[in-house]
Symmetry: C2
Subunit: 201 residues, 2 copies
């Protein structure tokens, strides 16, 4: 929209909203209009929340989580098991595991998985930070909770190699693969079924 019907302030807002994942120009225009119609209930509170988040939230320098605390609330929390670190790809995975209350150790956010095709190299991830944490000597187990994809598997293998190269006495495990809770067998892909069959108990 280059014409005068929408002023520069609206165009700027639409342009920035369109950079969010899953939103294109059309949905950004819809979102902008939705915000303008709800100025006091939504637009101004969102502006405040973003400014607040932008000024106060930072990466935890220990685990890579986002928080206003440094180190983050998970790293600071008492009563979590310091001998186990769960390695996740990104922060939403950490949130998902916390929602499931599935884990009471510490986390490490890699920031992605190795991907030769997408140009993600080891130095793009926080693998060095993880090795440094393991050198502290307190950690007995590293659980890899990465995507069950080829890139995820390559990443697990690479990090395991790094741990062995450093001569660290750390056990490495990974999440079980199998039938999801409530999953119907005939809707599952063959890879999942084969993995579930291999890991039967």
């Amino acid at each position: 929209m280059s014409q005068k019907s929408a002023g520069p302030e609206i165009l700027k807002m639409i342009e920035l909203i369109a950079k969010l994942p899953g939103l294109g120009p059309r949905s950004a225009r819809r979102a902008a209009l939705h915000l303008l119609k709800r100025k006091d209930q939504l637009l101004l509170p969102l502006a405040d929340a973003l400014a607040e988040a932008g000024s106060r939230i930072e990466r935890c320098r220990t685990c890579g989580n986002f928080d206003t605390l440094q180190p983050c609330a998970v790293c600071q929390s008492d009563g979590r098991d310091n001998s186990v670190i769960c390695v996740v790809e990104d922060v939403p995975d950490l949130w998902a595991l916390e929602r499931a209350s599935a884990f009471r150790g510490r986390y490490h956010v890699l920031g992605g998985v190795l991907s030769p095709l997408d140009g993600v190299e080891p130095e793009d991830l926080t693998i060095g930070m993880l090795i440094d944490r393991l050198k502290g000597g307190e950690v007995r187990e590293v659980i890899f909770a990465l995507s069950a994809t080829l890139d995820g598997q390559i990443t697990v293998d690479y990090v395991k190699d790094q741990i062995e190269d450093q001569g660290l006495e750390v056990q490495t495990t990974r999440l079980a693969q199998g039938v999801p809770h409530g999953g119907e067998l005939d809707h599952l892909d063959e890879g999942t079924l084969a993995a579930a069959m291999r890991s039967r108990r």
Copy 2:
């Protein structure tokens, strides 16, 4: 997410983003993370743009458009035809017509269409404002550019009745219905084809 893994600032941001049209809790979490990872390039500029929009943009009290000017840039613009008003449902429709450079008169944003099912009554729309504009006597034609739906048709009929009840000498027209530019016939619905056939020239 009620647990301590994500702080209240992040939760607040996610909650507000999730209120945008087309975004649910999951995509709001993705968007929030995307913003946090691009703090200087995206999060803070968006916060500023929203605050700026919230403080400066308002409804044009003449036509219902959003702008920082009062009346809006379209209403203020010289060289537009004051004798024609194009009635649209909402601001994006105005933007779309301006993008098409299809119209050089003035606009009137109704704010929706009448919808008995959704509880949209005449007083929820800016029909009164439109009638007041027509009473000025300068307008010779009102073009209805509303959705080609039942609700759109009901709205056109209602506004036309109001214009007639006021004894206003204003011609009313509506956008032509037909085959869209580049539209392939066998992908068009029967209603469109029938309308295109009826209005053939």
